[in-house]
């Protein structure tokens, strides 16, 4: 090939690559109000809630699989996670967090009332101290504002110090409600809701009953099913109270029979669409002006 035509070919190829990259990088769709990514981390929970450039990581799964999920969900140049929230200190919820502290800057570590002497929880506390990350312990009624349109409210937690060891750690899980409001056009009625997501950690029937008795069960479009789809959680009464249209089960290969067939029946009986991280991979709920849309790495629910 003559040098001249070779140069032309190289120039054309370079121009083509730049054009493709440009088309990919410059998108014109409006950014979502918030997203919630339920990461496929095996048998455990790891949920990244993002609103604008602010991220809150709720639990970190059992191991370093959470890093792959974060790599996919976080913007490439953003190495700061503003909030890391621990629902309770079991290994399948905090096992990957020490690795997260090693890779990302963390703005604040937020704990509920439940405490436990697990090595993973100890490693997390050591990592937080080593990085000088401030730690907050939240109570029911507290709220974490992520952006003008999105906030996380604490619905339930144990009213206790993290220095003690809890007896029933699952039932002391932080229960959080993500509320996304549509931008206020200036009307007198105030901003309308663009979606709500209830995150129940590993809370079971006991917590659900307590919330029902106290009348604290919020209505939500999306429910993150408690305790990886255990038979003991997400009771029929709780579903009646929350009235979700979609449920997400964060589950992996396990010996406990999660998710339980009885629970799947309960969800099906109410016509609730179910996303599962073990089947669909990372599941993303996108909160926009027109409501909630969904995407996943592997297929869609039937």
């Amino acid at each position: 090939m003559a040098p001249n035509s070779r140069n032309k070919l190289i120039l054309a190829a370079a121009a083509g690559v730049l054009l493709l990259v440009g088309c990919w990088a410059v998108r014109h769709d409006s950014p979502p109000l918030a997203t919630a990514t339920f990461m496929d981390v095996g048998q455990g929970d790891a949920i990244l809630v993002a609103a604008g450039r602010v991220q809150a990581l709720i639990d970190g799964g059992p191991g370093r699989q959470v890093l792959t999920g974060l790599g996919r969900a976080m913007p490439l140049t953003d190495r700061l996670i503003e909030y890391v929230i621990v629902t309770h200190p079991h290994a399948d919820h905090v096992g990957g967090l020490a690795a997260v502290f090693g890779r990302y800057q963390v703005g604040r570590l937020i704990l509920g009332g439940a405490g436990a002497a697990t090595p993973e929880f100890a490693a997390l506390r050591l990592a937080a101290v080593a990085q000088g990350v401030p730690v907050s312990v939240v109570r029911s009624g507290d709220s974490i504002r992520l952006s003008d349109d999105a906030a996380l409210a604490v619905v339930h937690t144990a009213p206790a110090s993290i220095l003690r060891t809890s007896r029933d750690i699952n039932e002391e899980s932080l229960v959080l409600l993500l509320s996304v409001s549509c931008p206020d056009p200036g009307g007198a009625a105030g901003p309308a809701s663009c979606g709500q997501l209830l995150l129940t950690g590993d809370a079971g029937a006991k917590t659900e009953a307590a919330l029902l008795d106290a009348g604290d069960v919020p209505a939500a479009d999306i429910l993150k099913v408690g305790h990886h789809g255990s038979r003991q959680a997400t009771t029929y009464g709780f579903l009646t109270g929350v009235q979700p249209r979609t449920a997400v089960i964060s589950v992996g290969q396990n010996y406990y029979g999660h998710p339980s067939p009885a629970l799947l029946k309960r969800l099906a009986a109410r016509g609730i669409k179910v996303w599962r991280t073990d089947v669909h991979g990372d599941v993303v709920a996108v909160f926009g002006q027109a409501g909630v849309s969904w995407r996943s790495r592997r297929g869609v629910p039937p």
Binding site: G95, A122, A123
Partner: protein, 539 residues
């Protein structure tokens, strides 16, 4: 042919090295001890007699040397065979173990693997809460409640906390013997690493002391740890683990689906530091020094140092040592002004590694694949490329295709025997992704170095590396989703047949002379005059 070989010093050296290789190969078929030190004496005697009697004649010298090397190989193999397992000692049901961390801790997805030496197994009821840290420093339990375990113990435990090299740990578990007769699937790599025991526990491990360990190893592990930390902060996952695989052969953090995609497209080799990576490192150094107008020989010296440092930092695995040995031979040839011979370099590297551990030949698939690939690359690459005339020469596509095809063919019997699966799209996948690898390595290494001084500046090349790594992931993911991977089960005989066929192909391509065409006689009066291209016909 023998005379020609004997007349050349490099030919003689290659013949001797091949004789050593042959000795190891012959003994690898039967891994029992044959004659032990007997070979050494017999071969030395024969060689001396041959040398004295036939010294001036090169052919007998060549043969005597080859015989000596062959015998040496047999003796070395005998010496490398581990002693038979001692009879099973009574297993203590209530066991407490003490051991010293002898390698870097490997962190998998939700667990960790620790290699420990100087391991003692103790009767838990007898030792109670007693301080056992003295055991690691050569002490002993006076009451006989503890006894040492020979070899390294591989412990699978929770991922946290992380223990440093040299720390003395105390934990509870029931050790199980690892070996040829343990009944479990044989893990050759662990065995070659000296692992003789394994156990797993979910209970916490306690660090009870820190013992003195080798300073070079401490420095090496410290450097590797710094590289991991820097890459982890610069790049997201899984690209960080991917880059670590390319730079230091550290691939523990890769997600299983990506590992499966690499395997099914025949591209796993890029994740282990191999000859390809070493060659690219040498190239990058040579280019940098050339740009800095350093003289060729001096640049080769610096590159030699760079390759050696890279090999050490990369963990000195079989493939790394082989590749570094070959790369160094090429660079040394440049320094001393000699012609580089790939055959001589490969023979030297293989013999040196087998002299170090002859068991590699039979048990280390990485070693086998690595050598087969280099053989294929050098032996078949060029002749195949000459026949791939339908491919363009632009950007070296034809040469790369020939080399990839040659390496794939040469490794085919080993892949079938070891994995039972042939990725048909392997050559295509390799052809597409290999040109990107040197750029990724250079950008990644540049990012790490720059980030050490100024993190934000280091992010720029690192981000470019992430883009390229994502391009590779997309290509691999797409190709892995296509149904072009064939399950093939073949025993040693079947694989030998395939190897034989590939040898014939090599002979046909390289050695066989073309059959001359029989032309009909020219009609009377007609003459042919051969003229040079471009010259004028002058009568």
């Amino acid at each position: 042919m023998l005379r020609r070989l004997a007349a050349s010093s490099s030919g003689t050296l290659v013949a001797w090295l091949l004789a050593f290789f042959g000795g190891v190969a012959v003994h690898a078929f039967d891994e029992r001890i044959w004659l032990a030190a007997g070979y050494w004496l017999a071969a030395a005697g024969c060689f001396l007699v041959a040398l004295i009697a036939l010294r001036p004649r090169p052919v007998p010298r060549l043969l005597a040397g080859a015989a000596l090397m062959f015998a040496l190989a047999l003796w070395r193999f005998d010496a490398a065979i581990p002693a038979a397992d001692p009879p099973d000692e009574p297993v203590l049901v209530a066991t407490e173990l003490v051991g010293t961390v002898s390698r870097e801790q490997r962190i998998m997805s939700d667990s960790a693997t620790l290699d420990l030496d100087r391991v003692f197994v103790c009767d838990r009821t007898a030792v109670g809460q007693r301080d056992l840290s003295a055991l690691a420093d050569g002490g002993s339990a006076a009451d006989g409640s503890c006894r040492p375990l020979a070899g390294v113990l591989r412990l699978r435990a929770r991922a946290w906390p992380i223990f440093a090299y040299g720390e003395v740990l105390r934990w509870r578990c029931l050790p199980v013997r690892v070996g040829l007769n343990s009944g479990d699937p044989f893990d050759a790599q662990a065995w070659l690493d000296g692992v003789r025991w394994r156990c797993s526990t979910r209970e916490p491990l306690a660090a009870i002391a820190a013992s003195e360990r080798s300073l070079p190893r401490q420095l090496l592990y410290g450097l590797r740890s710094r590289i991991r930390l820097s890459v982890g902060r610069l790049l997201p996952e899984p690209e960080a683990s991917f880059l670590l695989g390319l730079l230091i052969g550290d691939r523990d953090g890769l997600p299983p689906d990506l590992v499966a995609a690499f395997r099914s497209t025949g591209t796993s080799h890029i994740l282990a530091v191999s000859g390809y990576n070493v060659a690219r490192v040498a190239e990058i150094f040579l280019l940098l020094f050339a740009a800095a107008t350093v003289r060729r020989r001096r640049a080769a010296c610096f590159s030699l140092a760079g390759v050696l440092i890279f090999a050490v930092v990369a963990g000195a695995e079989a493939s790394v040592i082989r590749a570094a040995a070959m790369g160094c031979t090429a660079l040394v040839a440049t320094v001393v002004g000699r012609r580089y011979s790939a055959t001589a370099a490969l023979s030297l590297a293989a013999s040196a590694m087998l002299a170090f551990d002859p068991l590699l030949l039979r048990h280390d698939v990485g070693f086998q694949l690595s050598f087969a690939a280099v053989l294929g690359l050098h032996g078949l690459g060029e002749p195949l490329a000459k026949r791939l005339t339908f491919l363009p020469e632009f950007l070296g596509i034809r040469r790369s295709a020939g080399e990839t095809l040659g390496a794939t063919l040469a490794t085919l019997p080993i892949i079938i025997l070891a994995f039972g699966r042939v990725p048909l799209l392997g050559p295509v996948a390799n052809l597409l992704i290999l040109p990107l690898i040197p750029w990724i390595m250079a950008l990644g290494a540049g990012g790490i170095i720059l980030a050490a001084f100024w993190f934000s500046v280091g992010q720029l090349p690192a981000l470019a590396a992430v883009w390229l790594l994502r391009v590779i992931e997309t290509i691999i993911g797409f190709l892995a989703s296509l149904p072009f991977s064939v399950e093939l089960q073949a025993g040693p005989l079947g694989c030998s047949m395939i190897a034989g066929w590939i040898l014939l192909l090599w002979y046909a391509l390289v050695k066989a002379k073309p059959i001359p065409l029989r032309r009909p006689p020219l009609p009377a009066g007609l003459e042919i005059e051969v003229i040079e291209y471009g010259s004028k016909l002058q009568k």
